[in-house]
């Protein structure tokens, strides 16, 4: 197989280890359960889940920044509606705990109001936030984000276990292979 070479390799703190995984698996399972419960509660019209690792100010800042990466709009929901900040809150308390301190430190050092993203884009903080936004938008909802599969719906990705041909517009009328 070929995995993605180069670009993914630049995401520094993204990879966390098997030993860490083994040590934290029960916590993650609990977090995942929590996420499911939170989603069920939201579906029932209940208030959103409580923050566990972020302060209200940090959550508000992260919500603003991640919403600039994938904005909400008339064309569909963005990072805010997908609950990316709740994913980050969960991640910082469990599976990406190591990312918490450096990100919050950089976040605290940002001038207010936040600089334009054209400036911010070259910073390590942007790379980390972009990473977390994408994961919070598109990872399996059991990890605490991608609320109601809004991220998947934005892409048009379906969470279906099996498919049958035809798969897309171009293979519908394929006449069969002729050498």
């Amino acid at each position: 197989m070929h995995t993605r070479r180069g670009f993914l390799g630049n995401i520094g703190a993204a990879g966390l280890g098997a030993a860490w995984w083994a040590a934290h698996a029960p916590a993650i399972a609990a977090a995942a359960g929590h996420a499911h419960a939170g989603m069920a509660a939201m579906a029932a019209g209940a208030p959103p889940p409580q923050l566990t690792t972020l302060s209200a100010d940090e959550a508000r800042d992260l919500d603003e920044l991640t919403s600039r990466i994938v904005p909400s709009g008339d064309d569909g929901p963005g990072a805010h509606e997908a609950g990316v900040v709740y994913f980050i809150d969960r991640a910082f308390g469990s599976f990406f705990a190591e990312m918490r301190a450096p990100i919050l430190k950089d976040l605290g050092a940002l001038p207010r109001p936040f600089p334009d993203f054209a400036t911010l884009e070259a910073t390590p903080l942007f790379a980390q936030l972009h990473f977390l936004t994408v994961l919070g938008l598109l990872a399996d909802p059991s990890w605490g984000g991608n609320r109601n599969e809004l991220g998947w719906r934005l892409l048009g990705f379906e969470n279906t276990h099996a498919y049958a041909p035809p798969f897309g517009w171009y293979d519908r009328d394929y006449p069969g292979f002729a050498p």
Binding site: R5, G6, W152, D171, F177, P179
Partner: protein, 551 residues
Amino acid sequence: MSTRTYRDSDLVDFAIVGSGAAGGVIARELAQAGHSVVLFERGPRHTPGSFEHDELKYYFLDGLTNSARTTPQSFRADPAVDAQPITSGLLPAWYAQTVGGSTTHFTANFWRFREIDFRERSVLGPIAGTAFADWPISYAELEPYYTKVDWEIGVSGLAGACPDDPPRSKPYPMPPLPVKSSGVLLERGARKLGLHPFPAPMAIASVPYRNRGGCIHCGFCIGFGCEATAKSSTLYTVIPEAEATGRCEVRAHSYVFRVPTNDAGRVTGVHYFDAERRERFQKARAVVLSANGAETARLLLASESARFPNGLANSSGCVGKHLMFNSYSQVEAEFEHELNEYKSVQVTRIVHDFYDSDPKRGHYGGGGIDGRIGPIPIVWALERPPGEPRWGQAYKDRLKAFRRTMMSTQHGTSLPLETNSVSLDPHLKDAWGQPCIRVTYRDHPDDLANARFLQARADEILQAAGARRTLRFPVIPATNAPHLLGTCRMGNDPATSVVDRHHRSHDVRNLFICDGSSFVTSGRGQPTMTIQALAFRAGEHIARFARANDI
């Protein structure tokens, strides 16, 4: 799960290190030939039901692969400088650490090498500054074993579909997988340009095969285990058959860290850590290393002794050297209508018209072009090349083009260079206190030129297919790869190779080595088919030696 277990004190015939593409095959061949075998695997054993469609788990939490947290590696492009430790993120030598090895999570592209791959040095002549060499075996010698892989492992494809296909003694056992939109478009574009696209041979069951289910087109192949058992992993094919003999034990969670030798210069078994990190020793009459092109070399180098001061089986000095990754490039294309590439297997059509090297191009090299998924959601959304929007409405618009997007990737040659290597990092230790892999790698300029050449051809194909927009990802020097080739190269001369044409190490009579490390040249990417053909052949020869009491 194993049908037979051995004690450490039992003198088994073979200790095989690594249960992946090669180790699984050799275990079955030796067990079926009547030998006692312990197949060591450092990772856990998964069952089909334990595989999930979870990108975060497998791509970012090392759900199936080696982990930088417990086994860091280091990397440098320049052999004259200290390597940088890699303690998080993607490792330079990246592979699946689980029973079945990387055959559990691979994409399953199963291209045979061609006749030219084995004798290219003779045909093209030497290339200055490289260790470009012929293989000691020919395509014709390997052909029966390629056919064995087709049938025993299970490959879907269409014989004769490619006009330049190497000779084959039997057709594929299963028809090709159903074409996807990416395949139709690649085929359409390539034909407009007078090229010869054909159905991709894949080690995925297109129909139920030998007690395994056919593909359910879930789309989660690359980086994922197959819950449908359709992917022809050794986990689902030869390993259960080895166990069914009653002579093979698969020992998971067992990390072999040293292969000791006695006064006669013979290996005596393997030292390993069990799941509780206790040091143990399994006695064996002979040892087979199939731990992959990085770990096999590491293990040999870490097994140095007074008798073998440069590492075991390393009198040539070649252990760890001539590492080859396969050159690589990619083009993304957006079309008017939906392709829905997230469905079904990753690749359904390929183009091999640029397989051979051509001096007119101004560089050595050749390769293949595929049409494929443009990949799964998270990786696709993260992987935006420089200059592409990564935030705001423009980025959101890109995300919304997911269903209309495909990728073509290009797989090609890497030249064997003495300076590209796996060695022991002098400082870094893993969680077990063992020396870590240091990767030194800098693509030969011809390899990068070849990647750019193939990328330009793929771009033309996609444009001819009617793409609204194509995007060439920058061809950058490789810093990591899942293809780990050439580090214990095969050859007739003990001064310039590590194993002989039967995969016996030149230096140690009862030590055999067979995996990607055996490669002399890189082929054109997609090495697993050839690793497994070599493994079937090696298994047959090793069994013959054992019968003759010559191990």
